[in-house]
Every structure is written in structure tokens, then in C-alpha cells.
Symmetry: C2
Subunit: 327 residues, 2 copies
């Protein structure tokens, strides 16, 4: 049995790749910087570069590898290996990413939504060990969800299940990056934080954010808003507690629909800490029946940033082991 997989975490602002063994150790890493706004070709080149550098730099041979797992932030048809679309990365419509990368590398490649990769990692190695029915929620640039039922990832008919970021929570609400109104991620993701902060600034609110972001929308990130809030800025603080509460509304909808035993919450926004997480739990508590609130456990992720790479590698192990077993 081949002992290694390469997991590649293709995020909205960076790509991280790692060689992973079956004990969930990352034995080599590679990272490229922001590629936001670039074309698929550039991302494919990054994946290829990571693959070659990882093989060259660590004495690993292609015959040690079970394959490559790609975790991607966007609508993904994992079964067909196709990126349907991504609201964060322009130019990604109906791209057969799996086959393109596979042809370049000459090894088996599997594609999956990045949040589903995180979920697989937390289920096998992190906060969700031993739990059969769980959800994993990522609160970062977007608001992602992965569903594990009877110990297996549930991906739905065309592999897109879990697109909670574009569920509607405010039908008369603000425009989302997808062009629809009132999507959850328009409130509670990095995108949502920036939108709310921008509205406050534009309406003349008294806030240090105006100076901090300097008129450049790219700089108005969750991290910047958190920094302002930690420096005592009341407007930034209000944006974060509002976003936290809406994140809890998202949890409420998950509990009502799926009633998992456990929800693991990860992603960059969780690093803001209690200022974000307390209103999030409050948003859940105030919007579900007490019996439901008491019956679901909420835990933070254990693997942190590594869960993307680990999960993409786990996806490769699971997929190609199964294929080998069924031959």
C-alpha cells in the first residue's frame, strides 16, 4: 500500500500543499502567495510547482504516492472533478480542474470542496473523532459547511451539498457577491464583515477603520476589522458582534435541518475569539428550541490551518484506496 499523499489547499488568497503520511503527519510543505484574480492556468502552475518541489526536495518518489487531493474554495462537482464556479476567484466556470492537473502531473488526482476536506480531517484526526453524524462549519472568506453522515462525507447528487453560504437568511437583504440577495455569507464571512464595515464608513460613522483601510477595498479584511475592534473601535466591534450573531443564525438553520451530534467550527474568523464566538453561540441559542440547543455539541477545530492540507490528502487516501480495493 502506498504510504503518502499530497494534499493541496487552494484558498481564496493562497495555495498550500503538503506531503502527508498515513499517520496524518505533514512531512513536507510548499506555499504560494496570493493568486486572487488570476486565471486557472496560474493556479494549475502553482499546483504543478508544489508537486515537483515536494518530490524533489524531500527524497519522495512518485511510486510512494497514492495520489493528489485538491481542496478548492467554490462550487465543486467532486464526482466529475469540475469547478462549477467560485465567487472569490473570477474565471472559474466549469473548469475540469481534476483532469487538467492529472494530465499535467501524470498521477491520480481527486478534487473536493475545501470545507469538505477540512471536515474529513477533523473527523479522522481532530475534534470529530468517533462521531458518526457531524457537521463542519468554516467561517473565513466565505461560510462553508460539510456534512458527515454515518461516518462518510455526504456530497449530494452532483457533489455540491453543503453550500450554506448562499442559503437565503434575509430575502430583502443586501446583495451578495453571487448576485442574489440576503445570502448568509453576505453577513457573516470575511466578505460580509467587509460589506458591513464599508457601509458604516460610507455612512460617515466615527471609526478608525476609515484611516486603516485607506480607501483600498482589498485592505478591508476580517483581520483589519478585528484589529480595529481589539483597539477599542466601537464600529468595528459592532460589525464583528453582528457577524457573530448571524453566524449563529447559520448554525440554527443547520441544527434545524440536520440535527448533527456535533458541529465543529473552524476558519480564520474563529481566531477573533469571544467577541465573535459569544454572539455566534447566542445567535444559535436564541433561535432554536432549548431541547435542540442542549442536544448539539459545538467544538472548535483542532487542526487549524493544517486541516485543509490534511483533509485534501485524506480525500486522496480514501478515494484511491477505495478504487484500489474495488479493482
Amino acid at each position: 500500500m502506498r504510504q503518502l499523499a499530497i494534499g493541496v489547499d487552494i484558498g481564496g488568497t493562497k495555495i498550500v500543499a503538503g506531503v502527508v503520511n498515513r499517520e496524518a503527519n505533514i512531512i513536507a510543505r510548499y506555499r504560494t502567495g496570493a493568486h486572487s484574480g488570476t486565471l486557472p492556468d496560474h493556479v494549475i502552475a502553482c499546483v504543478e510547482g508544489a508537486y515537483k518541489e515536494l518530490l524533489g526536495g524531500s527524497g519522495i518518489r512518485p511510486e510512494d504516492l497514492v495520489g493528489v487531493g485538491l481542496g478548492f474554495a467554490g462550487h465543486v462537482n467532486g464526482r466529475a472533478g469540475i469547478v462549477i464556479t467560485s465567487s472569490n476567484l473570477p474565471g472559474w466556470d466549469n473548469v475540469p480542474l481534476r483532469d487538467i492537473v492529472q494530465e499535467h502531473l501524470g498521477v491520480p488526482v481527486v478534487l473536493e470542496h475545501d470545507t469538505k476536506c477540512n471536515a474529513l480531517a477533523e473527523h479522522m484526526y481532530g475534534a470529530g473523532r468517533g462521531v458518526d453524524n457531524m457537521c463542519y462549519v468554516t467561517l473565513s472568506t466565505g461560510y462553508g459547511l460539510a456534512i458527515i453522515i454515518d461516518g462518510k462525507l455526504y456530497s449530494g447528487h452532483i457533489g455540491t451539498a453543503g453550500e450554506i453560504g448562499h442559503t437565503v437568511i434575509d430575502v430583502n437583504g443586501p446583495l451578495c457577491s453571487c448576485g442574489k440577495r440576503g445570502c448568509l455569507m453576505a453577513y457573516t464571512s470575511g466578505v460580509g464583515l467587509a460589506r458591513m464595515a464599508f457601509e458604516k464608513i460610507a455612512s460617515g460613522a466615527d471609526t478608525i477603520l476609515r484611516e486603516m483601510y485607506g480607501g483600498d477595498p482589498v485592505r478591508l479584511t476580517g483581520r483589519l476589522i478585528a484589529e480595529a475592534a481589539q483597539n477599542g473601535d466601537a464600529v468595528a466591534r459592532e460589525v464583528i458582534t453582528t457577524a457573530g450573531y448571524y453566524a449563529g443564525i447559520g448554525l440554527c438553520n443547520i441544527v434545524h435541518l440536520l440535527m448533527p451530534e456535533l458541529i465543529v467550527i473552524g476558519g480564520g474568523l474563529t481566531r477573533i475569539g469571544p467577541m465573535f464566538m459569544e454572539p455566534c453561540i447566542q445567535g444559535l441559542k436564541e433561535n432554536v428550541h432549548p431541547v435542540l440547543f442542549e442536544s448539539v455539541r459545538i467544538l472548535p477545530w483542532q487542526l487549524g490551518d493544517d486541516s485543509g492540507v490534511l483533509g485534501a490528502a485524506v480525500k486522496a487516501f480514501v478515494t484511491f484506496d477505495e478504487q484500489a480495493g474495488s479493482k
Copy 2:
């Protein structure tokens, strides 16, 4: 193998029971009228009456029966046999209905949410035959959802999965009967239709509904509003098309989260016809990515009103056959 089960459909306004064979024929029926507002004891007495009458009137012996299935409209912990709460039936909080009825009748009883019973029936005998991953949506007094994954009912950790009626779709919206704001069913169920119609009447709108309902809130039902709309009342028509569109927003959230192969839509509101169903499909189409819209099939229920009784009986067959098999 015992060849019969009794299925009992306990709705917001009536109870229907039937003796069902393994070919899905209802060979005897019993129906009681409205019990809205009565206490659990009354409902239990109805179930008991149905059981005795069905046995007495049709020559069926208790030893022919595998057991009794109860389908109930409200929050249900099917695994524990407990009614957690019901927004339509006051006085139903933490009632161990399964055990109470089982003790009265002296035969095995199983309790399940009524929508889940409908889904089982449509999956085994109706529009969902042969489909492994499907959802069943009921649009009636409430807005219910049941999820079938890999051919089995998914009920979640405490058996409450599918409570879509109380998912939030308008965080700043109107009060729902559950006491929260902006629940889906505050817009698009029988309850939602009545709420919207009442607001129009109260604000002085020109509508025949005012005279038709005569100031009695109990008479302001989906059926009455549909009747007014069919008679050309513009206000009633607007209420129905709005409710239909919101029903489509609910479908949009289901597609995003679960991406089933098929959604079967049933329940009394579907009888209104195109005036309700066309904006419903429009609400779905306008709020999901075209690839998702093209990938999901939407079909009407096939079993109609019988699906409640059939499904409760199917639940009894499945549950008690499994228990017999594992002994």
C-alpha cells in the same frame, strides 16, 4: 411475518388511521374531526378509538398486526418516542406519546414526524421510487422537510432533522408561531398565508377576504384565501404568489445544503395549483446557480392525502421488521 400495520396520521386539524397491508393497500379507514386546541389525552383517545374500531370492523386480529405507526405534526424525537413540542397543538411539550399509546393498546408502537412518514411512503410507493437521495417537502399548515439518504430516512442525532419550517429566512422579519422572527413557515405555510392575508385586511386593503372570514381568525385558512384568489381577488392572489415564491426560497436552501437528486412536493397548498407552484419554482430558479437548478428534479406527490397513513404504516413495518430481524 405479520402482514398488516396500522398507520395513524395525526395532523394539525384531524386524525386519520388506516390498516395497511404490505402491498400498500389501505384496507380499512377511520377518521376523527378537528382536535385543534385539545389536550394530548383527547388525541390518545382518538388513536385508541381508531385502533379498536379498525380491529372490530374489519375482522382483523391483533396477531395479524406488526404494530402501529404514529405520524405526528411537530418536533418529534422519534428515537425516544417523544413529542418535544408542536406549534399547532398547544399542550404538547415532552409528551412520551409512543409509550403512552403502546401501554393503552398493548401492541408495539413507533412515533415519527408526519412529514418523514409521507417521505417514506413516496420513496417506497410514490414519486420517489428507485431514488436513493431525495427530499420530501410538505407545504400545508407548516413547511416540513424529510431527508432520505442512501435509501434511508435521515433523522439526525435526536430524531429531529428536517425542521426547515423554523429555519430563518428573514432575520428582521415577522414573528412566527414559535416566537422567533422570520421563520420560513411564517411566510409560506397555511399559517404564513393567514398571517399575510390578515395584515392586508388590517391595513385596509380592498379584498373580499374581509367579508369571507368575518373576523374569525380560525376561518382565515389557506383554502379560504385560495377560494378568494380563484374568484379574482387581487389581494388573495398576491398573498398566494408571495407565499409560493417564499416556498421556492425554502427549496433553494434545501438544494444548496443537500443537493438531492429529487424533491417531491406535497401537502394541501400544492392543490392551489399553478398560482402557487409557478412562483415557487421561480423562487428556486432565481436563487440558485443554473447548474444546480438544472440538476435537481422537482415532482409533485403521487399518494396525496394517503401518504400520511401509508407512511406511518411503512414506518411501523420497517421498524418492527428490523427489530424482529435483529433478535
